[in-house]
Symmetry: C2
């Protein structure tokens, strides 16, 4: 029974896992730049060349780690539970959920700083296409925002709403990014949280007003 050329045998699968684990730990401990082939092989208990039997190159390995991080991020965002006061209007409820979502994003980035940073710091070599599963995962993240925009800006078209969701995500991402960037002068985490809350709340209010 000839195995498919793409199929990953059990042995190879284990090696892939060990390598992804090792890379993940390296990133979390010493950042993306510390992911080197030789230490990786040692930590995974395999030969140098073995890496290239399961991954085409190190970029692919890092992408595998990114996939994991994105999955953890999504799980974390799905786990938030917002209790909304019964007498709250749908708009107020959506606003609160939006703020909670942004705070959850910030919390994840703070808790898994290095992995989260690696997600955006890592750049594919020029001309390499972004894997389709990554695009799909990003779309899922934007979607989480999009559904909350329904009650907030009911008069807006769906296409425009999709773009707005992307923009909102980007804005929060920027807040978190520069907030956790040590080189801009460290901002205490609690303050950063307040800022995210303030700005997301302000954006929601402003958007409601403009949609009226």
């Amino acid at each position: 029974m000839p195995k498919s050329a793409v199929a990953t045998g059990a042995r190879r699968g284990e090696l892939k896992e060990r390598l992804t684990d090792a890379a993940s730990r390296l990133i979390e401990a010493k950042g993306l730049a510390s992911v080197k082939a030789r230490p990786l092989a040692e930590k995974a208990g395999c030969a140098l060349g073995a890496i290239y039997t399961v991954f085409p190159d190190l970029d692919a390995l890092i992408l595998a780690v990114s996939a994991r991080t994105l999955a953890r991020l999504e799980a974390h965002l799905d786990a938030i539970a917002v209790e909304v006061a019964a007498e709250a209007t749908p708009r107020e409820a959506a606003r609160q959920r939006l703020v909670a979502l942004a705070l959850a994003y910030l919390d994840f980035a703070f808790a898994h700083r290095a992995s989260w940073r690696a997600l955006f710091e890592h750049r594919l070599p020029e001309g390499r296409p972004v894997p389709e599963w990554m695009v799909a995962e990003q779309a899922r993240l934007f979607g989480k925002v999009e559904v909350l925009l329904g009650p907030l800006v009911p008069h807006m078209g769906v296409a425009q709403r999709a773009m707005l969701a992307r923009s909102l995500f980007s804005a929060v991402h920027g807040l978190v990014l520069l907030g956790l960037e040590e080189k801009l002068g460290v901002m205490p985490f609690a303050m950063l949280r307040e800022e995210v809350e303030r700005l997301v709340s302000a954006m929601a209010r402003g958007l409601e007003e403009m949609d009226r």
Copy 2:
């Protein structure tokens, strides 16, 4: 007359310029990753080792390019002239100026994509301190936002206003960053402009409302 150890002779100054020029052109043409020592030396018409007589390492050279980019950015932001209707309230005027500032930031990033990206993509090796002029320059950028916040949120304390300025900048930065990131799916520039306008305007309105 013994020259100061820090002073840069005329010859060395020219070389420094030629190298910075070469690096700048390389970044604009093929991105930050294409800044390599040997091509650099060739383009600048000097020996390989000569680079290290005027810069401690390539990171310092890239920082010199960043300094230039920041200066150009500041000049570009200073050049914007907003005409505000005479009957506009101070709040409306400030809001319009804030939007104009954000759009100018977007325009600069779009026009000098690679240089602007290099500004944030480049990361100092662990433990290297950020030059003080860079921190100062960033403070100047935040300051431009801060002055516009005065009429918008008059009841807010100055310390909180400073943080808010930083947050606003970060949010716009995030919008521009993910907007120009090809890998998130290209967004037409005109739409991106509209999004920035919409979101900054919304933030301003929401902040006014919350400050009331």
